[in-house]
C-alpha cells in the first residue's frame, strides 16, 4: 500500500513584524511544518506502523529551503519525499488552490497512491481547499475534516472509515472507497516528536525534486488567478467590559448583556 501525504512549509510571523509593499519582510519570518500536515504525517506513519509493506511518500511544493521542513516528515517516519519546484512556480506571487491541485495531481498520477492525506488547511494563508480540489483533479473519492480514521479497515478492507467534523458540532461517520483523499483535522492523533538525531538521520532519505517538465505540466498551467493587491495590519478593535459583583450578580449581568446583544432570546 502507498500513502501520499501532502505537506506545506508555512511562514510564521514574529510579533513586531514590518510590511514592505505586499510582503512581510523576510527578517520577521520563520518557517515551519504546517500544523495540520503534522497530523496528516502522523496518521500516515501510524498506517505504516500498523501494516506490512506500507510506503509513505511526502510531497511538497516549495523552494529548496522547504527541504528543512520536509525533512521533519522524513524524520517522523515518511520513507521518501518529492519536492515540486520550478522557476516558473517561483515567479508566481501566490499560488492558488487550483494550481496546487494541478501540481499535486501530477505527482499523484506518477506515484499512484492508494490514499492521499492532506491537512485541512494551511497555517499561513489559511487556504483550506487543496485536499478536496486535488481529489477532484485526480478523480479520487474524498472526505474533508477527518478527525478519526479506522486504520485496520484501511489496511484490511481498502475502505477509509472516517469520522468527520461538520458545522454546528455535528459529526458524520462515513465509509469512503479507496483511492481517496482525506483532509486531516488536528487532534486526530498526537504527532510524534522528531528528534535532532532523527532529523539528521533523515538526511540520507531521498528527496526527489520534480520540475514542471518532469511532471509534464506546462508553464502556463501554473499562472495563478490570485494577485496580492495590498498588505496591511488591521487595527485591533476590542471592547472589554468588566462585570462587578459576586458570581451570582456577574451571571445576572452577563445574561442581560447577552439578551441585549441578541445572543439569547427573551
Amino acid at each position: 500500500m502507498k500513502v501520499l501525504v501532502t505537506v506545506k512549509e508555512v511562514a510564521t510571523v514574529e510579533d513586531d513584524f514590518e510590511i514592505s509593499g505586499t510582503e512581510i519582510e523576510e527578517t520577521y519570518l520563520d518557517y515551519d511544518l504546517n500544523e495540520w500536515d503534522d497530523y496528516a504525517v502522523e496518521e500516515a506513519v501510524q498506517l505504516a506502523e500498523a501494516g506490512d509493506d506500507v510506503e509513505v511518500v511526502a510531497v511538497t511544493i516549495g523552494p529548496e529551503r522547504s527541504e528543512e521542513t520536509i525533512r521533519m516528515a522524513l524524520a517522523k517516519g515518511a520513507d521518501r519525499a518529492v519536492r515540486v519546484w520550478d522557476d516558473a512556480i517561483e515567479d508566481v506571487e501566490l499560488l492558488d488552490v487550483e494550481t496546487k491541485a494541478e501540481l499535486l495531481g501530477a505527482v499523484v498520477e506518477e506515484e499512484d497512491p492508494d490514499i492521499v492525506l492532506s491537512g485541512v488547511q494551511a497555517n499561513d494563508d489559511s487556504f483550506g481547499a487543496t485536499g478536496v480540489a486535488l481529489a477532484e483533479t485526480v478523480g479520487f473519492e474524498w472526505a474533508a475534516v477527518v478527525n478519526a480514521l479506522d486504520t485496520e479497515k484501511v489496511l484490511d478492507e481498502g475502505v477509509a472509515s472516517v469520522r468527520r467534523e461538520l458545522e454546528g458540532g455535528i459529526e458524520e461517520l462515513t465509509d469512503v472507497e479507496l483511492p481517496a483523499v482525506l483532509a486531516i483535522q488536528t487532534g486526530i492523533n498526537e504527532p510524534r516528536y522528531a528528534s535532532l538525531r532523527g532529523i539528521r538521520q533523515a538526511q540520507s532519505k531521498e528527496i526527489d525534486v520534480q520540475s514542471l517538465d518532469d511532471l509534464g505540466v506546462g508553464a502556463d498551467d501554473v499562472a495563478s488567478s490570485l494577485d496580492v493587491t495590498a498588505m496591511y495590519e488591521p487595527e485591533t478593535e476590542s471592547d472589554a467590559q468588566y462585570l462587578e459583583g459576586d458570581a451570582g450578580e456577574q451571571a445576572a449581568k452577563l445574561a442581560d448583556v447577552l439578551r441585549e446583544k441578541g445572543v439569547v432570546g427573551e
Binding site: E14, T27, Y28, D30, D32, K76, R192, Y193, A194, S195, L196, R197, G198, I199, R200, Q201
Partner: protein, 699 residues
Amino acid sequence: MPSYMLAQAGVETRPTFWRIGHVGEALFYYLAAVAVAIFLYGVYQRFATYARGADDPRERLTDLPARVLTAAKLVASNEKQFDRDLYAGLMHTFILWGFLSLLIATTILGIDMDLWTLVLGQPSFFVGDFYLAYSFVADAMGLLFVVGVGMAIYRRYWVQYGRLWGKHTSTEDDLFVWTLFLLGVGGYLTEGVRILGTSATRDVSFETVSFVGWFVKDVLQAAGVTPQAAAAAYPVVWWSHALLALAFVASVPYAKPFHMLSSYANLVTRDEDAGKRLPRVPEDASPEEIGPSDIEDFTWKQLLDHDACTKCGRCSSACPAKAAGRPLDPRDVILDLKAYREGLEAGDREEVDIVADGGTSVVDAETMESCMSCMACMDACPVDIEHVTQFTEMNRRLTESGQMNKNVEEAVMNVFQKGNTFGDPDRKRPDWTDDLDFEVPDAREQSVEYLWYVGDYPSYDERNQHVARSLARVFEEAGVSYGILYEDEQNDGNDIRRVGEEGLYEMVAEENIEAFQSCDYENIVCTDPHSYNTFSNEYEQFGFEDGDSVYHYTQVVENLVNDGALGLTGTELNDTVTYHDPCHLGRYNGEFEAPREVVRATGVTLDEMPRNRSESFCCGGGGGGLWMDFDEETKPSEERIREALEDTDAGPDVDRFVVACPMCMTMYEDGRKTGGYEDDIEITDVTELLVEAIDAKEK
C-alpha cells in the same frame, strides 16, 4: 576431643564441636561446603548478569587499588549512613562492625582448628590469654551487633519509620533483619548453654570474660536449668544456630544480604562526576539505539546499581518531585527495573518497553518527566546509585521514540529554531541592555578578561533581565574587563540535555563553543548555574578546553568584594535574608560559600533554612520542570518559601529569599504568588542585593 581434654587439664579454652560427635562434625563440614557452593554459584550468576550488560561509557575500573581503598574507607566510616541521619549511622555502624568482628572471630577459630592444628599439626593457639581476649572481644562486638539489629527492628516495626516502607518492601527485608537478630541472640544462647553445660565437669569461672554468654548462663541457671539439662540440650541449640548461619551464608547472593557485596562493588566502581557530566551517545547511533529499550541496553554498572539498592528510601525521602506529589519515586524506579529483570529471568514477566507513555512499560513517561535532575537522590544515596544518569537515558529513549512531553517539546523546538527557549528572535537577545546608561562591551570585537555568558532567562525574561542589568552594573562599578556575545549567544543546552534531547544538545554545544572560540577572553562567567555546570563539566566532550576557567558569577563577584573593588563596608543593608542553594551550583559543583560571602558583605543578616547546602530543596525548575505544568499538591517553590518563613530562626521576619539562579528566580516568583506569600517575602538575586548595597553606600 583434644580441646576438651585441654580444658580439663586446666587451660582456658572452650571445646569446639562439644557433644556434636564425629558424624555431626563431618555433617557440619559437608553442609558448610554446600552452603559455600550455593553462595559462590549465586555470586557468580549475579556477576555474570552484569558482564552481559552493555559497556559503560565511563572508566570505572582504572586505578582499582585506590578505588577499593576509598570504597573501604566509605564503608568503614559509615559516613554516608550518618549523613542526615545519626540514628541510622549508629545502627549501621554497630551492625557492620559487629558482623565483621564476628566474621573475623569465626575465621580465626577456623584457621586454628583446620589449618594450624589439623594441617600443620601445631598445638592450638585458641587457649589461655588469647582465648580470654578473643572471647571478651567477640562477646563485646557481638553485643554491639545485637544492639544494632535491635535498633533496626525497633525503627522498622515499632516506629514504622516512613522511608523504610515502600512498594518493594517484602519478606526478604523481614527475613534479613530477623535472621541477623536470631544469629546474634542464638550465638549468645549457644554460648550460655555451653558454659552451663560444661560447668558440670570443670571450673568455668574464667568464662566470665564472655560476659554476655555468662549472663545468659546466669539467667538459665536462675530459671532452673541444670548443667546436665544444658549439656543435653546443647546439640539441639548448637545445630539450630549452625544451620541458621549456613542458611544465611547460602542465601546471601539471592536476597537483601547481597548488598554487602553489591553495594560495596557499587562504591568501588562509582563515578564522582556522575550526574553533572552525563555520558554522550555514540556519534553514529541511530534514534532506535539511543536510550534503553531493553534491559540489556543498561550498562553493567547500571545493572549493578539496581542490585546495590538497599531499599533504604533515602533517595525518595529527599526527592522534591515525590514531595510535591509528582508520580516519581526514585527508589521505585530503580527497584522496578530490578524486579523487571528478575521477572524476565524467572520467566514470569512478558517483555515490555522500558519507558513509554501509556502505562504498560516498566517506567512510565510521566515518571521520567517528573524528575528535576536535582541530584538530591544521588547525594542522599548511601551506595552511590546513579539515578540521574539512568533517568536521563530513559528521557533520551522517550525523545528518540517521539514521546517527548508536549510542553517540553515547545521549548525544545524553540531552541532548535531560534536558539532560545522563549522562541524569540535572536536579534532581541541583547534588548535587556537598552535600559542601561552605559554600553555593555561586545566580546566579539574586543578582548576581555571575562566573557560573560548571559543566558536565556536573563536575556529574555523581564524579571531576570533586571538581574542581568544588576550584574552589568556590578561589573561596571568594579571596573571589570568583560563583554557579552550579543546575538551570537544561544541556549546553553544543560537542560536540553537533561530532558533527553542529546542531538540538539550536541548542536548547541558545538555552536556555543564556536562562538566562544571566536572571542579573545581569559575566563567565562555565567549568570546561570546551569550554564556554568555544562560549560565546565560537559563541553569538554565536544572539544572545549577551557572548562577550568568557567565561573559562576557569584565566584567572580566574591573576589571583587574581597578585593574591596566595590567599596562596601558591610553595613549598607540591614534586612534579614535566607539563601537558597541552586542545585547546579551547590550540590552539583560544590560551591556553597561564595554566594554566602557576597550576601553577608552587604550587611544583611543571613539566616539558614534547615535544608541548606548539599541538602538544598530544588525549586522545581530543573530537568525541564520550568517548561512543564504539573498537578502538584504543594509546588516545591511554595514549600521552600514556607520553609524560609517558618523553619528559619527568624521565621516570619525573613524579609528576602535570596537566589543565585535565573530559573530559581522564575520558580520562586511564581511560588510566591501562587502560595500567597506576596506580602511576606521578596525574591532577590544575589546581584540585586549587591546593587542595593552599592546604591545605599552612594547615598
